[in-house]
């Protein structure tokens, strides 16, 4: 009896509101271990919806954003995806800050034929292509390719790798090793560290003492890469250090220290170097607009992750505008037909075989000089 009463009470509490507007759903990891991804994503989405509504919404209709915090738990993400579709009756879902949460949401979205734009990196999300699933971040494999391209230009043929064992680090390590051969490069030392480790000198010493290492690559995100960078400096390793797109934010330079980070190279997005973009760069107006708005609204500097959410929202609103109606299947068709849409991450052109729509040009090879990002091309 008690449970029934509670169920009824709950039912009344969360019964859906009227749907005279375009309802967009989102489930991101605004708290928990992946909060550094989900928090800027949530803030970006709220900011963009507010701005869009102030400008008259899409096709004259107001946008209603239903935002949930899944805390990085795939099981919760699945429940929220169900709730967004069945109870909140949204026409599209943005979200899934991590690969795990994205994979959970996508199976619900596919079952219910609701378009879903993921904000996570792994290639599995869109490969093989699923009809209703799209994503905005470039894949780890593309980051590897960009880095190896740069190494190739420098004539580097033998490298050492030190990777985090977290989801991001492990996935990128695997992807890099898959494509490294295509660039005539061999991995001669392969070390790992736990994301919570406070010192990586042992692994770095081992890499330094391996014969023939010409450069070191560190796939990982969070604090790990900063520690690697500091230890690298302390050990005075005299080889180029490459970091991944996972640490492409000002926070990395702060954590590692400008001194230790000097000369570190990594593939980043246009967002990080908004001021350095050429005036005729198609991404420039958009990147600057997002950067100004976000920094004004939150008081924190922009990062790549908030940019992913920005792009997802752009793609979605662009698709709804073109579709002319907020019908899930029409939106899906329109997203798939996205052509030459400039976002903060790159320029998106999707088709039936490609639900990401970015190529390597989306990445810019950056180098840290004097505590600032500089462009090398």
């Amino acid at each position: 009896m008690k449970t029934t009463l509670i169920t009824t009470a709950v039912a009344i509490c969360i019964a859906g509101a009227a749907s005279a507007e375009i309802r967009i759903g989102a489930s991101v990891s605004a708290t928990g271990p992946a909060a550094f991804l989900g928090d800027p994503e949530a803030k970006t989405l709220e900011m963009l919806v507010e701005a869009a509504n102030a400008n008259g919404g899409i096709n004259g209709e107001e946008i209603a954003l239903v935002l949930y915090d899944d805390g990085g738990d795939p099981n919760k993400a699945r429940t929220f995806a169900t709730r967004l579709i069945e109870d909140d009756e949204v026409v599209a879902i943005i979200g899934g800050s991590t690969t795990g949460t994205s994979m959970s949401i996508l199976s619900v979205a596919e079952d219910n034929e609701i378009p879903f734009i993921s904000l996570a990196g792994a290639i599995e999300i869109i490969d093989p292509v699923k009809p209703f699933t799209f994503k905005t971040p470039h894949t780890d494999r593309m980051a590897c390719q960009k880095i190896f391209e740069d190494m190739q230009k420098q004539g580097i043929t033998q490298i050492g790798m030190i990777s985090g064992t977290d989801g991001f680090g492990a996935s990128m390590q695997a992807q890099c090793k898959e494509v490294v051969g295509e660039y005539g490069i061999t991995v001669v030392a392969d070390e790992t560290y736990n994301p919570t480790d406070a010192d990586m000198t042992t692994q770095l010493t081992k890499i330094r003492n391996t014969d023939g290492v010409q450069a070191v690559l560190n796939p990982g995100f969070g604090q790990g890469p900063s520690i690697v960078t500091r230890n690298y400096k302390q050990l005075a390793v005299d080889l180029p250090l490459y970091q991944s797109h996972g640490v492409a934010s000002d926070g990395f330079i702060e954590l590692a220290g400008a001194d230790a980070a000097e000369g570190v190279r990594l593939p980043g997005t246009a967002l990080l170097i908004a001021g350095l973009l050429a005036d005729d760069d198609p991404q420039k107006p958009l990147v600057e607009a997002y950067k100004t708005a976000f920094e004004e609204k939150t008081g924190t500097s922009v990062g790549t992750f908030g940019g992913y959410a920005n792009d997802a929202f752009l793609i979605l609103t662009d698709a709804i505008t073109r579709a002319g109606e907020a019908d899930p299947t029409a939106i899906r068709d329109a997203i798939e037909a996205t052509e030459g849409l400039a976002g903060t991450t790159g320029i998106y052109s999707m088709n039936a075989e490609d639900h990401l729509g970015l190529d390597l040009s989306a990445f810019r090879m950056l180098e840290i000089k004097g505590g600032e990002w500089t462009l090398i091309e």
């Binding site: 008690k2 449970t3 509670i6 969360i14 795939p74 099981n75 690969t99 795990g100 492990a170």
Partner: protein
Amino acid sequence: MKLSPKTATLLVLVLLIALSPLLFPSGYYYRVGALIFVNAIAVTGIVILTGYAGQISLGHAGFAGIGAYACALAPVHLGLHPGLAMVLGAVISGLMAFLVGRPILRLKGYYLGVATLGFGILISMVLNNERQLTGGPDGMEVPDLGLRGLLKDAGLDLTNGQFWYWFCGIAVIIGAWLALNLFNSPSGRALRALHGSEVAARTVGVDVTRLKLQAFVISAVYASVSGSLLALQNKFITPDVAGFMHSIEMVTMAVLGGVGSVLGAIFGAAVLTLLPQVLTVFAEYEQMVLGLVMMLVMIFLPQGLLPSILRRFRRGDE
């Protein structure tokens, strides 16, 4: 007519599960219901271990992890049907509990808690780090159980949410029935004697070591089945299922609802599964409210929600 407590408990459970859907305004509530049932099964196992036998485990999510990954791995590598994989997972969990339980159940109190905690963390680390097998922290896909398709062919067309609601609901009833039977059996009485005083139980001839091990193995099987059902339902699984927080959640649900009674523990599972869904309104304060509710219950209703409420009702009758 006077119903036995066992029949009454089962009757309440069956009615609740069967009638709740009448009040569901949308398909989403079936999903929440199914999640409550998945947790309820694991928590019923905790009742047997902690409520009956008085032993504590902070690592039961490890068994849930074994059950979940059995359903993900066995169909791919051994060609087993996912349903059989669930059975395989339960068998492995039972064996594992037997092997691990023999040495660690000699420990008492904190020491037992810490040892089981270590076991849970070990399983979670293996799932996280054996990337080539488990997909690492990114998780892996779980094949479809296939039963829903069969039912559809037989003329019973259920949505995914509905199917899992009824499937897990039936599993909860079976689980509760077994646990209640155990409670009333000689073994159950011996377990409760052990809970009261291990020394006293031993002096009257109860084989304490064997019984503790039995309770540990049975509760591990419950956790494993719960993990399997979660994996099959979500069709995707990550090592979070074996994580430390999941272990704590199981114990909290049991203690909150009332660890001595099956119905109470299931009630606890329902409350703790529902609360985060209700509290999305408060977003930022969710964790605070959750913590507050638990503290208040522990201070004012130390026996758990359901037993305390029931006692108050009975007192009112007199």
